[in-house]
């Protein structure tokens, strides 16, 4: 096995020149990229002097803006328009290694890559994300459509835009990322089929695991009269147990049997395979994380952010964004020998599309509940503008 990036601090002997510290960021999504760019920009002088080495490990050389999948599924966006080369959004101070991580050895501070190489670290930032598990219920993989992967969104787009009538059912399992996206999609479908003039031939049915339309009670209270006004059907306390592909029926833990023509499923998500294989996660592969410091509970030199944590908060890009500021500042403090004093307060901010031309938003934290405002056209346009501005956020500018 080839060893690269061996920590000079741990290997140095008496009289040897003191060399740099290795910071490794595992994951090239929103959270990992924001941390990498934030640290690189702030510590550009230390990086130039070789006192700090910043390495980002990813399993792909591409960076995809995942919220675009919602718009792709109704043919209002193309995946390629929201895809960039990872290198193009990284600060020059970050070494990009495109080589999937297969094992994290937190005892020896080393990461093994698919190529067989190993990279060691002094500080590790884990931002490995969450992934829909299409095997989480019998019948799901072969029957359901989704808009949580680029391939899924494009396949669903072709079905939705050619749909001429029948029943579309949306099911949601836990945990999953982007908690408002299913609600946004049902509103978009309502307006899409009104525009096509076939809304009377389309039965839209939205389901939700708990006893209201969304986990955020104010959002549920806002959505309920909208559903009634638009003729969107719903069933709550709806947890998928299995799907019968032949009969095209979804069965629930609560005893319901619901037929469908198109089943759009948001399956339960799992943590990254490398987290599961390394024994760092819980049953779902999510890493036990301190809710304020964002350090892994069992390792003081590992930070965790974004969808990879086990925190009881939304798995969303904005969560990763707010957490990235905390993690980056604390990593910088540690590298400079200071106390890492920044703490995460649970802040989340999500736009909520309420159709094709208006939107609202929710903002909340551990201590502050959300209070959505009425949907407006202005917020919708701000959301569309943010879709383009995202790249500035990833670069750590916005």
């Amino acid at each position: 096995m080839e060893i690269t990036g061996v920590s000079p601090l741990r290997k140095q002997s008496r009289g040897e020149r003191r060399l740099g510290k290795n910071v490794v960021i595992l994951g090239g999504g929103t959270g990992g990229t924001m941390v990498a760019n934030h640290v690189a920009r702030t510590m550009r002088d230390e990086i130039k002097r070789g006192e700090v080495t910043l390495t980002q490990i990813t399993d792909t050389d591409k960076h995809i803006y995942q919220p675009s999948f919602l718009f792709v599924s109704i043919n209002h966006a193309r995946v390629e328009d929201y895809t960039r080369k990872q290198k193009s959004i990284l600060s020059s101070g970050v070494n990009l290694v495109v080589d999937p991580a297969t094992k994290i050895d937190a005892g020896s501070n080393s990461i093994t890559l698919a190529s067989g190489k190993a990279i060691s670290y002094d500080i590790l930032v884990i931002a490995t994300g969450a992934y829909p598990d299409f095997n989480s219920a019998p019948g799901l993989a072969e029957t359901a459509d989704n808009f949580y992967t680029p391939e899924g969104a494009e396949k669903l787009r072709d079905k939705l835009i050619n749909f001429e009538g029948g029943k579309i059912v949306i099911t949601i399992d836990v945990p999953h990322k982007c908690p408002v996206a299913p609600l946004e999609l049902i509103f978009m479908l309502d307006e899409l089929y009104r525009e096509k003039g076939i809304r009377d031939k389309v039965d839209l049915m939205y389901t939700y695991p708990i006893g209201r339309l969304h986990s955020l009670e104010p959002v549920a209270n806002w959505a309920a009269p909208e559903f009634e006004a638009r003729g969107i059907n719903s069933e709550v306390f709806f947890n998928v147990e299995s799907i019968d592909p032949a009969k095209k029926v979804v069965n629930t833990l609560e005893g319901s049997e619901v037929p469908f023509d198109i089943l759009i499923s948001i399956p339960a998500h799992k943590g990254a395979q490398v987290i599961i294989d390394s024994g760092l996660g819980d049953e779902g592969g999510f890493i036990p994380t301190d809710r304020h410091s964002l350090k892994a509970e069992s390792h003081s030199n590992i930070y965790v952010l974004g969808d990879a944590t086990n925190l009881p908060i939304s798995k969303a890009g904005s969560t990763a964004h707010y957490e990235a500021d905390v993690v980056a500042e604390n990593v910088i403090a540690e590298l400079r020998g200071l106390t890492p004093s920044h703490t995460y307060d649970g802040k989340v901010f999500c736009f909520v599309e309420a159709g094709l031309d208006k939107a609202t938003y929710v903002s909340f934290s551990y201590a502050k509940p959300p209070a959505p405002t009425p949907a407006t056209e202005m917020i919708h346009w701000f959301k569309l503008a943010f879709n383009e501005m995202y790249w500035l956020s990833a670069k750590g500018v916005l």
Binding site: V174, P175, P179, P209, I210, G211, R212, H214, S215, L216, E217, F237, N239, L253, E254, A268, E283, G284, R291, P312, I313, S314, G346, V348, V362, F364, S365, Y366, A367, P369, P370
Partner: protein, 81 residues
């Protein structure tokens, strides 16, 4: 409550989204039949909506009470199937 052996505990205090019931459902799904899952919730609504889901699915509600050491609720569920 003192006699109940808790197999898994979920601290969902301060969780608005996905919220305590969603956290509980997630944890119950991965638990073994017969295991006890306890959820801590700072949302008063949990005292009502968690028992409602537990009854609907057919699990067992072992306790549902306000904690003596803070402004939150402790609710324990035994997975029945």
């Amino acid at each position: 409550m003192a006699d109940v052996h808790v197999d898994k505990s979920v601290d969902a205090r301060g969780s608005y989204c996905p919220g305590p019931l969603m956290e509980l459902i997630k944890t119950v799904k991965t638990a073994e039949v017969g295991q006890v899952v306890e959820v801590l919730s700072s949302d008063q609504g949990s005292a009502k909506d968690i028992p409602e889901w537990v009854k609907k699915v057919g699990h067992g509600l072992l306790y549902n009470e306000k904690a003596q050491d803070g402004d939150y609720w402790r609710i324990a569920v035994k997975k029945a199937k």
